[in-house]
Subunit: 283 residues, 2 copies
């Protein structure tokens, strides 16, 4: 199956991400199906034309019709789902995911998966601070980076198929990284930033400060509204990398503190100049 | 002199903030004068109609004409300026400032100031990541909080005058805090956030990550492009408060790290729920 055909696509896990995939794929003409354990998510998606068909249980009739499957589940749930229901997959299909950690799932899933089905992992770096299919929006992909994390088990065709899915979503850039490189990167640019936002919010009883915050505080804490079930699982599944990143960061803040304690103004300026130079790369 | 009269306003220090004040005041009809040690800043402002009159030196003819003065200088420079040139002030005028720290300047300036001139301190919580009068923009005040920090030495009239200046700039909210309350608040919502942004940027050699960053990393590091001269001085002048805030924050990130090390998922979720609840106050 290639994306040029108008095939049957199954989305498993119809939350914010799954729903956004469904919207994007239906717009370009695919027959989009979904499975989600919440009946109200399926009902909402059907009533709003986000999917063509759906079920609140792992319905063999739907699963066996899929030419490709996109998994929008949490990591552990994803593994359990494959273990329990891969028997229903049609032979020769490809599956991909949206998971924010890779090393701890890609190898496990590829090891347990049937020989006649290929799992090519990907991660669209998009999201919002709201949840559920009701908030899904296919515009979230527009400025997103989309990362494919193949292993030795993946075929060139599957990698290209997965890249074409990213292009179809309208992402800004498609990249290829190993699962290990992906997790190192994500531990820094995404997981550490969430730890920081949460810690900034919780380190002070700040209700009385609502009237005095400027843009900088709001920017740094936008992601402090956080889905605790998803993020605690993502942190656990990238634990070693994230702990290293937290150590690096704590050391750096401590260094700034020591410079200030010693009135080492030149030392602080040096850090600020480095910061300014580096931030310019990201503009 | 009241703001309802079209008086002569002097801006000392014509950078981003001074220039933005000048633009806002000129729009409503004041005769706006400026002094800045950089001749090119004065020339630019004159050529672009931002001010009516200006000088690159502390010109007695200009200073003595001012009915009110707004200081856009760094804290130490502000004190030196008052020490050296307050002799030129017309009797009975009011002066204010834009300085981001208060305790270390308000009392010193009030102590050294002539009896017939009143200093009422204020802090418009607005800014941009660019500098200089060329980038000044009176729209930066629109969503800003504007804080007046009076002491026992200030008159009710001067406080009201300063509040009316804030309203004239079009700020979102005018508040009154003591210099001490102001510095406690600013150490957390502004200075600590800048320390965090700089530390996040400098704790990792991240040039190769430019292609993979999502919105969260960009949001958390927007202010990592930083004016090292201004911020190192602001940090020094609020040193004790900022060190306490850094300690609180380092402890909180360390707590998150220990929870993760112990696989205390419920403990991490608890922090995330607190963070989510608190962040909602700021929306």
């Amino acid at each position: 199956m290639e994306w040029i055909n108008k095939s049957n696509i199954l989305v498993v896990g119809l939350g914010l991400m799954g729903g956004s995939y469904a919207k994007a794929l239906k717009k370009v003409g695919y027959h989009v199906m979904a499975i989600d354990k919440k009946p109200e998510a399926i009902e909402y998606a059907l009533a709003n034309g986000i999917i063509d068909e759906g079920s609140a249980s792992p319905d063999e009739a739907i699963i066996s019709k899929a030419d490709a499957v996109i998994f929008g589940l949490y990591p552990q749930t994803f593994k359990e789902w494959i273990r329990n229901y891969q028997q229903f997959f049609k032979s020769g299909i490809r599956i991909t995911d949206v998971t924010g950690v890779k090393k701890c799932i890609v190898y496990d899933i590829q090891d347990m998966l049937r020989e006649d089905v290929e799992f090519i992992a990907s991660h669209p770096m998009a999201g919002r601070e709201v949840f559920g299919v009701e908030n899904s929006d296919d515009r979230i992909f527009r400025n997103a980076n989309y990362i494919i994390t193949p292993t030795d088990k993946n075929s060139t065709d599957a990698i290209e198929w997965c890249a074409s899915l990213g292009r179809l979503l309208g992402v800004r850039k498609v990249s290829i990284l190993s699962p290990e490189e992906h997790d190192m990167m994500i531990g820094y640019v995404s997981q550490l930033t969430h730890v920081i936002a949460v810690s900034l919010m919780t380190c002070n009883d700040n209700h009385h400060l609502v009237d005095y915050t400027g843009d900088s505080f709001r920017d740094l804490t936008r992601i402090a509204r956080i889905n605790e079930n998803m993020w605690s699982e993502l942190f656990e599944m990238n634990k070693d990398v994230l702990i290293t990143q937290m150590d690096n960061f704590i050391n750096e803040v401590s260094t700034m503190k020591h410079l200030l304690e010693k009135d080492d103004v030149e030392g602080m300026k040096e850090k600020m100049r480095l910061s300014t130079t580096r931030r310019a790369w990201f503009d």
